[in-house]
Amino acid sequence: MILFIKLFKESAFFAWGSVVANKLRTLLTLLGITIGIFAIISVFSVVDALEKSIRGSIASLGENVVYIQKWPWEFGSDYPWWRYINRPTPRVSELDEIMRRTQILDAVVFTASTSRTVEFGNRSMERITILTASHDYDKIRSFEIGNGRYFSPTESFNGRNVALIGANIAQNLFNEVDPVGKIIKIFGRNIEVIGVFTQEGDDIFGNSHDDLVLLPVTFVNSFIDVNSDRYNPAILAKGRENFDNDELIDELRGTMRSIRRIKPTADDNFALNQASLLSTQFDNVFSVLKIAGWIIGGFSILVGGFGIANIMFVSVKERTNIIGIQKALGAKNYFILFQFLTEAVLLSLMGGIIGLVMVFGISWLATSILGMNLMLSMKNIMLGINVSVIIGLIAGFVPAWSAARLDPVEAIRTGL
């Protein structure tokens, strides 16, 4: 084994000498592998970053939360909107019924939203999202309150004119002033700010508490009809920990059908949406993107593989004498085969590693200069290395095989 390593070292030195002596040839040879690995791994890194961001956003919707809505979350051009247009919207009154009839719920909340101008003194912000929710909103959506507090049960149930505002609104509307205890004006009504959400940053769906105002639904319902379709009403139900989503959906379907008195043969007139539906939709998108990455990089790697095979054939030709001497001294075919295969793999790996370094450099630039969350993951590094090794093995096999199959008396041919 030590002998083999040493002989391999001799091969590697020889190969390195050839690489150094023919820099342009080597560069052109490795370029295919480098570009291929760069293309595949950069696409994968972008997809990973996108996936991470989207999955994080989906997770923020609540993996075990079911959204009872009028419209189902579906994608595609064949969305049968005409089947849903006449459905009733979820109503605040249904919230109490659901809570009463369902045993496996941890929390259930009614939400509706609109956009309005928010005023404070002579300052104002237009088209701010006004989210109105029932009391258990904090049990379903995770957020932190940096300043102030959440609604008390009394404020929620009695519909007091209190509000929680997003960090950006606090910053733009109040500047240096502490918003808590101040009065803002929305819907032409005075509302007291009792808390400010901690800055979250945008997620991929724009779901963030940074730019919204949260009001108790009982308060808003007293002057507008929150059940109206234009306020996008929804009931969010979160199951207990030991119940899975399928059970929760079955239970909610039965409860909703019972509340709405739907005949056994009739279709549901509501949609039960869940975050996992979105995950499934995005899985398909990611698969397509990854296939595209493989196709783009695959062609380049194919060219690179031919380049490596070419350089290996030259290498075998140049070293016929050494191969012959080794064989004349008893080296077996596999010994020669392994030497050349290893060399091909090393060459390919070199190309792959340059590609990975390029991806790393670009990720680093994108992250530090453009502020993108792009990262070269260990999984992608391993993928790049594995692909390089496999290409090296495939491309090097035929030249290595031809070297291994050389006539054992080649040494004498070159020697005499």
Binding site: L3, K6, L7, K9, E10, F13, N321, I322, I325, Q326, A328, L329, G330, A331, K332, F335, P408, V409, A411, I412, R413, G415, L416
Partner: protein
């Protein structure tokens, strides 16, 4: 022992070997000499199986190598030691590792210790044991030849083929190497065949010399006989140098 019977080889219209018959005996240094283009290289290639003769045969201990299949030939090749022109050592291996190489390749049953012992024995025999941990780049041309000889005899060969063994060496070192080959040949009872142009080698170690001329075995005999053969072509070759003519 190697016997050559009616060995013929031609390339197209050109008859290079025209029916050679000779015997290379055990424990003797057999030298093949001849002018360039005489056919001695083709003859040597036919002996080791590099070229297939058109007719005739080469017999290694009565076994016809020409008729053997590849498996049988491999067995015979295991008994061959090769001394290549220019030593052909592996630069990345130490002297010791170069000698161990054929043992590693051919002898799976030997332990590492046994292989090292054998390598040390061979190196000791060629008086270079002290250099066992040096690399080829660190030793002289003569020492490299000694290592190559040690490597060639590591597997205890029955037949030793040498191609210009003292090419590139100064006359004194060349004689030392020639003598070493001759001693080893007798000591280990090897059938040694040397392809050479060097008349010094012929005179020093030529137990059996064959002179090939225009594809024929023109003359054979011992080194003592070659000076007085009376054969014009042999004398032209032997006395090619002005100095030797004057000495004669």
């Amino acid at each position: 022992m190697i016997e050559v019977k009616e060995l013929k080889k031609s390339f197209g219209e050109l008859n290079v070997l025209k029916g050679i018959n000779t015997t290379f005996e055990v424990g003797k240094t057999n030298l093949i000499i001849g002018q360039s283009g005489s056919g001695k290289t083709v003859f040597m290639k036919c002996l080791v199986g590099l070229l297939e003769p058109d007719s005739g045969g080469v017999f290694f201990d009565k076994n016809n190598f020409t008729l053997m299949n590849e498996k049988q030939r491999t067995k015979v090749r295991k008994k061959m030691g090769m001394l290549f022109q220019g030593s052909a050592l592996f630069d990345s291996l130490t002297v010791e590792e170069n000698v161990v190489f054929p043992l590693e390749m051919f002898n799976k049953d030997m332990t590492r210790k046994e292989k090292l012992e054998r390598a040390h024995f061979c190196l000791d025999r060629v008086n270079i044991l002290d250099a066992n941990h040096l690399y080829p780049a660190e030793i002289s041309g003569g020492m490299k030849k000694r290592v190559a000889i040690a490597r060639a005899i590591a597997n205890k060969p029955d037949y030793l083929f040498c191609d210009e063994p003292n090419s590139g060496l100064d006359p004194q070192t060349a004689i030392v190497i020639d003598r070493l080959i001759s001693e080893i040949t007798k000591e280990f009872r090897i059938t040694t065949i040397i392809n050479t142009h060097d008349m010094n080698s012929v005179m020093e170690i030529g137990d059996h010399v064959i002179f090939i001329y225009k594809g024929n075995l023109w003359w054979e005999g011992s080194s003592d006989e070659i000076l007085t053969t009376g054969n014009k072509e042999v004398e032209d070759f032997v006395y090619a140098s002005e100095l030797v003519r004057k000495l004669k």
